[in-house]
Amino acid sequence: MRRAAPAFVAVAVLLSGCAAPAPGVATTTTDTLAGTVTVSAAASLTDTFGTIADAFTTEHPDVTVTFNFGGSSALAAQIVEGAPVDVFAAASAATMTTVVEAGLTEGEPTAFATNTLEIAVPPGNPGGVAGLADFTRPELSIALCAAEVPCGAAAMAAFAAAGIAPEPDTLEQDVKAVLTKVELGEVDAGLVYATDVRAAGDRVDGIEFAGAAAAVSVYPIARLAASTRNAAATAFVAYVLSPAGRKILDDAGFGAPQQ
């Protein structure tokens, strides 16, 4: 019975391939990809990569994509310490460099998305926040990312470019933690990525600010050398970089990196 299974799958794939050709990649009929791809990805990619994985596994039904989302720096540290990961997608070039310098990537990392910062406030903007200058008001509760993680580094760059010294009440360990504090209404404002504001829907209000362009985050992706399931991992990276992946990233608010 076991031995017959691949044949059944092949027939099924063939049939479905004939009935409704998959958009984008037209290689479904000869799909031999199987196995598991383990992806460590920045916390800000949580929703978007989930969507990308759904689309990817629809085209490659025998592939399972598992995710490890977190602060890029922590993920890089895990990889350097030997975490069994196939693909790394970071929220900054600096965190990717840690992994590259450890000799753990296969080929050069590719920039696949950009993200800008946006001010997130609880619905209705109870603190009356209008721009970065409000981050100095001592009566407001302010959450920023810690400078050690990419969103914090980007925030520092934005404040430096604007010549503003913010007075945060808490420096969170990743961007989603900042967003949670805003969603719960515990802080009057936080600085997060534009994509986080969009993903949060009506749970937060977003305020764009002049000078956000001074701190654009570029997201690199790379396949890791230790990856033993090369084919599926390579295909996943290719899918993220493909027009289909680009569309999902666009929909989530991620910009396209300049080539």
């Binding site: 602060g71 720096s73 922590a74 540290a77 350097v80 509760s141 959450a143 810690a146 050690e148 993680v149 945060p168 009440d169 808490t170 420096l171 969170e172 360990q173 933690a177 504090k181 719960l184 209404g185 515990e186």
Partner: protein
């Protein structure tokens, strides 16, 4: 005393050699990760790493808040342990409910505890919305988070000691005319003192290592809410060596405190 030591020696003679294998594995699982930490520690740069101002501020904050949390846990937790130990006569439902309430913070992921505290005491929380001041992002919030997570250790240790203690002394004191509070102060408390000491130390160590509930409820700001475990986590993002150095400090403090427990692990047997 005689009985206790006799019981202990007989237990030792019944220890089958076959048990040494799983016991050794258990010990390896607990001990080897710590050994790896010690082996990988950047001993040469250690003094320099620990002299950073952030370390002193995080260490001071951690020790201060953990001591305060332990003190609060003692004041509130010993009476709770008394209620818990005497709840035997209660009907089953409230008795089990009480025990579950005390135990749940032990098994709850601390981050969930932090969210629960925010929902209760945050700006929009059930109680927090009526407070004239803001609790999150203050040192007080760090202490509350630590008490929430660490007090159950003290309560259960004292509860165990109370159950193992001989109630006849209290009855005798009462029949001789001692008031209830005198009985508590002169008889009950001295009887369970080793249990209280053991519980307080466990509580202190747990408070010292608290991370999840603290960062969720109190946030992380140097000198105000950024305790040593949180500073360690953030250091791990950029400077793993510094993070290992900070972990060593935490480990040494906890180990010193726990070793000072000596053989008081099982109150009632050694008392």
């Amino acid at each position: 005393m005689m009985q206790a030591s006799a019981r202990r020696s007989s237990r030792r003679s019944f220890l089958s050699p076959a048990l040494w294998i799983p016991a050794g594995l258990a010990l390896a699982l607990l001990g080897l990760p710590l050994m790896a930490l010690v082996v990988r520690a950047p001993w040469a740069q250690l003094p320099e790493l620990l002299r950073q101002p952030t370390v002193a501020s995080a260490l001071g904050l951690s020790l201060g808040t953990a001591l305060l949390s332990t003190a609060i846990s003692l004041v509130l937790g010993i009476p709770l342990a008394l209620v818990l130990a005497r709840s035997d006569q209660w009907p089953a439902v409230p008795r089990r409910l009480l025990r579950a309430l005390v135990t749940v913070p032990l098994v709850l992921p601390p981050v969930v505890g932090g969210v629960a505290l925010l929902l209760l005491l945050g700006r929009n929380g059930l109680i927090g919305q009526f407070l004239p001041f803001q609790l999150p992002f203050t040192t007080a919030a760090v202490v509350i988070a630590q008490v929430f997570v660490a007090m159950p250790f003290l309560v259960l240790a004292v509860d165990g000691a109370l159950r193992a203690s001989d109630r006849r002394f209290e009855v005798a004191a009462a029949t001789l005319g001692a008031s209830r509070f005198t009985v508590f102060r002169r008889i009950t408390l001295p009887l369970v003192a080793p249990g209280v000491a053991a519980g307080a130390l466990l509580c202190f160590c747990r408070a010292l290592g608290e991370f999840g509930a603290t960062i969720t409820f109190a946030g992380s700001f140097p000198g105000v809410t950024q305790t040593l475990p949180i500073a360690t986590y953030l250091q791990l993002q950029t400077d793993p060596d510094a993070a290992i150095a900070l972990s060593l400090v935490l480990m040494v403090i906890s180990a010193t405190a726990l070793v000072s427990l000596r053989d008081r692990w099982v109150p009632g047997v050694t008392a």
